[in-house]
């Protein structure tokens, strides 16, 4: 028979034993947990910079559940549910499955359309891909079935994408450039891998692949032009590190606002960059670690004799200022405006034609909607106005003709 006290001692003894075991086990469990938490946290940041939310959230839809349509030349493609839901999301993906989707565009149900920027994401490091995976797997599973794509034949045949991958996708590994600073290299990685900026800002060839020798030279996308963001062009326009920093955090700088497809990018993604990463991005984009001194904004003076003068005063000056100085939180300045100072007149004309939706960035920065004037102004007037803007506030020649206006009009309105 067991001593009477043993029945009292034994649970206590087990508890002590258990506690001891715990003490032995705790440090390593805690370390795992910490690692996991920090991977999830890092993944959350990386996912923001990768801008997953903007594409994988339908207007008015729940975050990361997909359903946002992408206009492609072949028909609309819809983004998918990437929450951790096992039936409709990516909850069933192993890390290797996820890696294949991110780096090679191969999901567990077949090849992905290259609207998913795996051609850029293939540059992601394994560590970062793991962190993003950890984050997505930690998201709340939300059941929401994916929409069928509406892509025309033969592009609806997903096996064709295999062929596309063979020809157009070259899964590269990110290689730092040792001749450049660490910060520049970080910027390169953020911009080209995670930020996948080239997907919009690089022209595409007939196969719809980014043309490597035209990297960042600008392209028309959904009726607007994703600007030329090569260092030579940005430096010609005298962008400074501070200007880019302002633009990416506030959506606004002394050189104008972002609009169209770039608005959600700043809102969801770039405004979350850490200060160090932001500086890295501008060092890479401007291709210099040096400070750039800001130059005076361009205002060449009014010429009331020109037909564009009353048009400017009647339609634009109320918001953009009598001398193009702009109004804080209403409308950006004309003076120094980067959209005006581009060689391509596309966006200037497009904006006059269809206006810009209102934009809200944070509690202190927002811009009012600009109305489009396609109905009220005829082609001749739009030409006069656009030329007047270029002549008065940029270093571009005022040489736009009716044909240019007509071409832009066609592009803009075939995308509505």
């Amino acid at each position: 028979m067991k001593p009477a006290y043993s029945s009292h001692l034994s649970p206590l003894y087990s508890l002590v034993l258990a506690l001891c075991l715990c003490l032995v086990a705790l440090p390593s469990m805690a370390a795992d947990k910490d690692e996991e938490t920090s991977a999830i946290e890092r993944g959350a940041y990386l996912m923001k910079i990768g801008d997953c939310v903007a594409c994988h959230t339908a207007v008015g839809g729940r975050e990361l559940t997909g359903g946002l349509p992408f206009e492609t030349p072949f028909g609309p493609v819809y983004s998918t549910n990437i929450t951790s839901d096992k039936d409709t999301g990516i909850g069933n993906y192993s890390y290797d499955d996820f890696y294949d989707a991110m780096h090679h565009g191969v999901g567990i149900n077949g090849n992905l359309y290259p609207a998913m920027p795996y051609t850029s994401y293939s540059l992601l490091t394994d560590e970062d891909t793991r962190a993003i995976y950890a984050y997505l797997m930690s998201t709340k599973p939300i059941k929401q079935a994916n929409l069928d794509n509406d892509v025309s034949f033969p592009f609806n045949l997903r096996f064709g994408l295999k062929g596309w991958n063979l020809i157009a996708h070259d899964a590269k590994v990110f290689k730092p450039n040792n001749a450049k600073s660490e910060s520049w290299n970080r910027g390169n990685y953020l911009v080209n891998a995670l930020g996948h900026c080239g997907e919009c800002h690089t022209p595409r060839d007939t196969l719809y692949a980014m043309e490597p020798d035209k990297h960042f030279q600008g392209a028309i996308i959904e009726g607007l032009e994703a600007s030329d963001i090569t260092p030579s062009e940005l430096n010609r326009q005298n962008w400074t590190h501070e200007d880019l920093n302002n633009l990416f955090t506030e959506g606004y700088s002394r050189k104008g606002t972002v609009f169209g497809g770039m608005y959600p990018v700043v809102y969801h993604s770039f405004s979350h960059l850490t200060d160090t990463d932001m500086l890295a991005v501008s060092r890479y984009l401007l291709d210099t670690d040096d400070n750039i001194e800001p130059q005076k904004l361009t205002f060449n003076g009014h010429n009331p004799k020109l037909p564009g003068y009353p048009l400017y005063k009647g339609y634009c000056a109320g918001c953009h200022g009598q001398n193009g100085e702009g109004r804080p939180n209403v409308a950006p300045a004309m003076a120094g405006n980067a959209t005006l100072d581009k060689a391509s007149p596309h966006n200037v004309v497009a904006v006059i034609l269809k206006g810009i939706d209102s934009q809200h960035y944070n509690s202190t920065t927002s811009f009012y909607a600009m109305p489009g004037y396609a109905k009220e102004l005829d082609e001749e007037q739009i030409k006069d106005l656009a030329n007047y803007l270029r002549l008065t506030w940029s270093n571009q020649p005022a040489n736009l003709d009716i044909k240019t206006i007509r071409n832009v009009k066609e592009t803009v309105f075939s995308h509505n």
Binding site: H302, P304, P310, K313, G314, Y315, G318, C319, Y368, E376
Partner: protein
Amino acid sequence: MNQSIKLTINNQAVGPIEVTDGVMMIEFLHEYLNLTGTKFGCGAGVCHACTVIVDDEQGMSEVVRTCINGVERFNGKRIRTIEGHAKLNEQGEITALSPVQQAFLEHFSFQCGWCTSGFVNEATALIERLERKPIPSAQVEDAIEEALGEHVCRCTGYVKYYAAVKDVILRTKGLTLS
């Protein structure tokens, strides 16, 4: 630098008048013509209080905000402001309000009245559009929301404004398809 401005306001030819550079239309109405019924609210194109009607030769009209548009935009055009809606007798006395004005009174739509002239112009333009192109009565509320939705009333009179406009539309023959 002066501009010479000539236009038609409420069926009366105005000008040519020399206007200093940089004058917004609302300022022109107030300071040059003493037409003060158009109200200045936000001054930035948001509240739509300063809305007037611009008519073109084809009989089409559109509403335009006068606080953000320079007088040059209106040069040579036909404008209707709040002063042009009521019927007047030969002595210039008001004999009848327009149906929209009357309905706003009947519904006690406005309180301080600052936003009212904008609402009158916008609702009138809507009704004229429906005269040209009637809509099913089930769509009337949406059409009102679309037309008046951007007008801000600081006294929050929206419900009564909308109810008044709906009333006018439903009781006027030819605006809705039965």
